[in-house]
Amino acid sequence: MEKILYFVFAAGVSLFFNVSCGGNVNNEITVISREESSGTRGAFDELIKISDGKINMLFREAIIVSSTDEAAFKTEVDKRAIAYTSIGSVTGKIKTLAVDGVEANEENVKRGAYKIFRPFVAGVPGSGSSPLARDFISYLVSRQGQKIVVTAGYIAPNDEASVYSASGLAGKLTLSGSTSVEKIMERLKEEYVKFNPDVKVEINYTGSTAGIKDCLSGKSNIVMSSRAFKADEKEKLEGYAFALDAIAVIVNKNNPIDEISSEMVTKIFKGEIRSWSDVK
């Protein structure tokens, strides 16, 4: 019996040392991305040219996480990580990189210097949309609506918005679309109902693409999308951007790098550059 135990112990110890000595203190980049159908990933992949609209060329060994917060957390604990996340989710525990020398902030997005951002769009069918749906959208882009967008941590695209006044309409309004919009849309809905107490607003968070389908088939009155409409969608839907969301490129706090070129971001996310030593 002792012999068996001794053998197991010895095998365990030797295996451990073999592996740990073989393990290298490397500088390999941990690439963190989101699942295929995430709106954030869709926007990011397109903006940094990981996807040409047909084929996605993301590094195959990239870690896939299921939410923005998880991406931030994994970046927080991994010294070699790089990820991207909505600017609203950036905390003090991670570092945001300037891309091509431009910081990711409201001002730079508005003046067009920071290129990695996406709009949050509310859309209605081009024909046959209800007055109520249009009224809700006019609230979204109004001064009051835009103020809520800013307090929620996003960027208001419309500085000179007009003031919204209650329409006195009544009825039921169904919205469907992106999960990324949830935080901001719940607040907007609350405030809108204060103006128009006779309106019931129901929101389903199904993802941008599914939301567009629902809206076109008449299952919902308004679609909320966390990406710009594609060409064929634009033909059938009227879209109104009510918020902008910068997508920040984030790294671990201990990463010495402060800025990165967009070309380098593309190469890292394609897996063409694997080591932090090659990042200039």
């Binding site: 019996m1 592996v19 740990s20 073989g22 393990g23 290298n24 490397n26 390999e28 941990t30 699942e35 295929e36 159908s37 995430s38 869709g42 609209g53 047909k54 084929i55 996605n56 195959r60 060994e61 990239a62 870690i63 896939i64 996480v65 299921s66 998880e70 957390f73 994994k74 604990v77 991994d78 070699r80 990580a81 999960t179 199904t206 993802g207 693409t209 599914a210 389908k213």
Partner: protein, 285 residues
């Protein structure tokens, strides 16, 4: 009359659970059928590329099948020895004083929600592997360790019960013949409780292969065929939970089909369980 009422009541209850299984079976395979029809069964099962949003899309789950098998095997390597030996300790060595507390703790282990295991893995195991071995820690190894701990309570409880169910005479007979305590346990007690222990292990495997949340948080979920245990891996369950929320059309059907494959795995496991229990009518079952 009274007995009849009770009988029907029990019958209805059992029909509910059987009906649930039948319904799940029916809907998962019906839901999977369109995807298998579009993609083809063989390309679906053996394809190495899963690119649902590409044009044209690719739906191959081979890497994930292998991933699920790797991670489950890893969990067994860790969970089975630890679990079985713990059961031996609890059944034969453990002083009465410690036993109550220990038994409670094992039960507690079973009750911990899987997301908590995930956090534990993400905060402790993943960084540990990244710092001490190669890679970034999100790996087959991390998932195996987390799952190995998660299957412990199942294996321990079932094994312990079956060890205790072995007639005392077996053990005492071995001792009387001059065997040491260890010899009696390993050469008499464990073989006698074999089918019970195997049942525990198979139930543990079932838990490991079906576990989702904890695995998603530590496995990295890259859709590759891992070459080493330090590489990332995506399991069938991870693939479902990652993309379920957004998917539509063929993509959605393909995810349901992924679920169907998982379901087949579970059915096979149950078949194995049936064979084990049928094959041996020894003590401990």
């Amino acid at each position: 009359m009274k007995e009849k009422i009770a009988e029907y009541f029990f019958l209805i209850c059992s029909l509910i659970s059987i009906g649930a299984v039948a319904l799940i079976c029916f809907f998962i395979f019906r839901g999977a059928y369109p995807a298998v029809q579009t993609v083809g069964l063989w390309p679906f099962l053996t394809g190495g590329l899963w690119k649902p949003t590409d044009i044209p899309p690719l739906f191959g789950i081979f890497n994930m099948i292998v991933g699920s098998v790797y991670v489950t095997a890893g969990a067994c390597l860790i969970g089975v020895p630890v679990g079985v030996f713990t059961a031996v300790y609890m059944a034969k060595y453990c002083p009465q004083k410690i036993y109550a507390g220990m038994s409670q703790l094992v039960s507690l282990l079973a009750g911990i929600p899987s997301i908590i295991y995930g956090f534990f893995g993400m905060m402790l195991i993943v960084p540990f592997i990244a710092d001490n071995f190669s890679g970034n820690g999100n790996s087959v190894l991390a998932a195996s360790i987390v799952l190995g701990v998660m299957v412990l309570p199942t294996i321990i409880k079932v094994s312990e019960v079956s060890l205790k169910a072995v007639p005392k005479t077996y053990y005492e007979g071995a001792l009387a013949l001059g065997a040491t305590k260890e010899q009696s346990i390993f050469f008499v007690l464990i073989p006698a409780a074999k089918s019970g222990i195997l049942t525990g292990i198979v139930l543990g495997i079932g838990r490991a292969i079906g576990e989702t949340m904890a695995v998603v948080m530590v496995a990295g979920n890259a859709n590759i065929l891992p070459e080493t245990i330090f590489k990332s891996v995506r399991t069938l369950t991870a693939n479902i939970v990652l993309e379920m929320g957004y998917a539509s059309g063929t993509h959605f059907d393909a995810i349901v089909a992924t679920g169907a494959v998982l379901f087949v795995f579970i059915l096979l496991l149950n078949l194995v369980l049936g064979v084990i229990n049928k094959g041996s009518k020894t003590a401990g079952t």
